[in-house]
Symmetry: C2
Amino acid sequence: MLFTIDRDSLLNKLKIVEKVTAQKGNVQPVLSNVLFAAENNTLNLCATDLDILVKATTTAAVKKAGKITLPAKKLLEIAAKLPDKPIEFSLNEDTNIVSIVCGNSKFEIIGISAQEFPKTEDEIKEGTEIEIDLEPLVKAIKYTVYSAANYENRNVISGVFCLIRDEKLEMAATDGNRLARIVEKINNKNSQNAKLIFPSKTLNEFVRICSYISEDKVKLSVDKSKITLRTMSFSINSKLLDGEYPPYEQLIPKSTVNSVKISRDDLILALERVSTMVNERTCFVKFIFNDNKLMLKAETPNSGTSEDVIDCEYNGDELAIAFNYKYILDSIKIMESKNIVIGLNGSLSATLFKPESEENYICLIMPIQI
Amino acid sequence: MLFTIDRDSLLNKLKIVEKVTAQKGNVQPVLSNVLFAAENNTLNLCATDLDILVKATTTAAVKKAGKITLPAKKLLEIAAKLPDKPIEFSLNEDTNIVSIVCGNSKFEIIGISAQEFPKTEDEIKEGTEIEIDLEPLVKAIKYTVYSAANYENRNVISGVFCLIRDEKLEMAATDGNRLARIVEKINNKNSQNAKLIFPSKTLNEFVRICSYISEDKVKLSVDKSKITLRTMSFSINSKLLDGEYPPYEQLIPKSTVNSVKISRDDLILALERVSTMVNERTCFVKFIFNDNKLMLKAETPNSGTSEDVIDCEYNGDELAIAFNYKYILDSIKIMESKNIVIGLNGSLSATLFKPESEENYICLIMPIQI
């Protein structure tokens, strides 16, 4: 293996794949490594933790094809410190040592044979092929994935539900205490439909990688149990979660007894202030709506109390309701609307939070009984 | 106690004192608190971990004098989140609860009686009073304190030596493997002299606090075992270390066999690159000087090697010498000169590092035998 690549391309691709490598202390040392595969002026980088497999592709001046795995964190550290000059990689196939030369800097890194790396071929032979816009998918993930149950198991509620039907993408996640649901318009090139449940980890990784690329289309190849998401410059393979997702639509109230309009910024700042005195065990903040005002209150026994008052549009009877304030901040911080609308159905019923300017996103949060 | 203060003053003073409070889990809860003392339109904040006592002073509209202690971290968090409006503090002396009101925000914080706070009076009754410029003192601390022995005991080499004589300030620190020494010109208002050994912790705290103030004079009140450093806006009290500081002057070579001139930036960047492959147990990087070139080499067994070549002015015989690269970076990163000069006395002798443009600063580093 012998190739030359520019520093920025290498660094960008290493950032895409590096986070997927298994952490220190894993049983197979090769899982801490990135697979380098050079052929036909193309360099493929590949990393996996056995749950997710990420491939990144870039052009490189390949003089001799070949494959080797190299330690991901070390390579990233080196690439970040090299000057912005061409970098030459050459592999000694007898010793698995890769010589990396850039300007006056030279490294010899001991690799692990590519033979030991898990297989990287696409396993999806017969499945549905869907091509949609990248942007609404990334948005829909960001607006829902935080609501998925935060434990690492194979239960469907640790994942995110996704329905692609015609020109509509619907995603939803719930951990039993809150539900986030979004519907986005998409261009669905092949008019293929799909209903699937993504592991949250796969989606978080996908969104992270998308911050390093500038593309606008993504292809999904789906079969019964696996998915590949692919853009021009990278792909991510993952298992899907198996099971029936809870019928969340029936949880969303069709109407609410009262509705409150309130500035998103005011509510965020007031919640952040009041939460300084929140009881860290329960995290609850009391909301008292009355006469176009919202009063927020928190209390830690033996430490003190906090309260804040903000203006809102509310004409109903006085209503006191308590929430885990972190759920509220998670949900309203990602909204882009100046004002948000809170739909109330009494102090014991699930409460709707939605951006004033957008009909297709809602977050439903269960109150805490006080 | 009843006073009003503006948000920025409060936040600034809390930042000055907050770091000195004792960490969680300390035996006396009051040591996590800041003492608030309001009187005659002056607010004094005070914090101590029993080693160091820091006081910060600011003006406030005091309507009723009084004292209370309040949790430092909580107060800082609250002040940082409050809007930029006047803040009113009022103490209920029966309950020790302080009500903090700012705009529509209100907090009630349970304090601990000021009676429980360690005494805060200045203990230095008869001592030397010295007034010097703040800037050269801060510089001299930054240029030496990193070389002090990094263990928390009362040994003098865990401290920094300081000699004030006429219009000269000399500071030095050594941990046995390296020595840093600086001589700065000062205006010494009262022509008072002093020779003392500061605990490193006191100096680190002093430098940190100086980043929050904009003053140019500092007064030192020194007696046999204690010191107070005082500016217009804050003071810090500390014990001094007792003992005889090692006679470091005799360690500094009067001349060197060879001297090397090298770009500081080039050396920093090359060392940072090469150090990616350093053996983390020994941290040593080999320096090979030959024919106007410096080659740097590092190696981690079973992982790989690195090398880098940079230009320098060196005409002597080839010389190989190894250093803990962290010591080199510590010493040259604080230098402000474009080029640095390395004074060599063979591969087993202490080596001088100094800025080309400044005669009064040197760092002496012992090589590692390889």
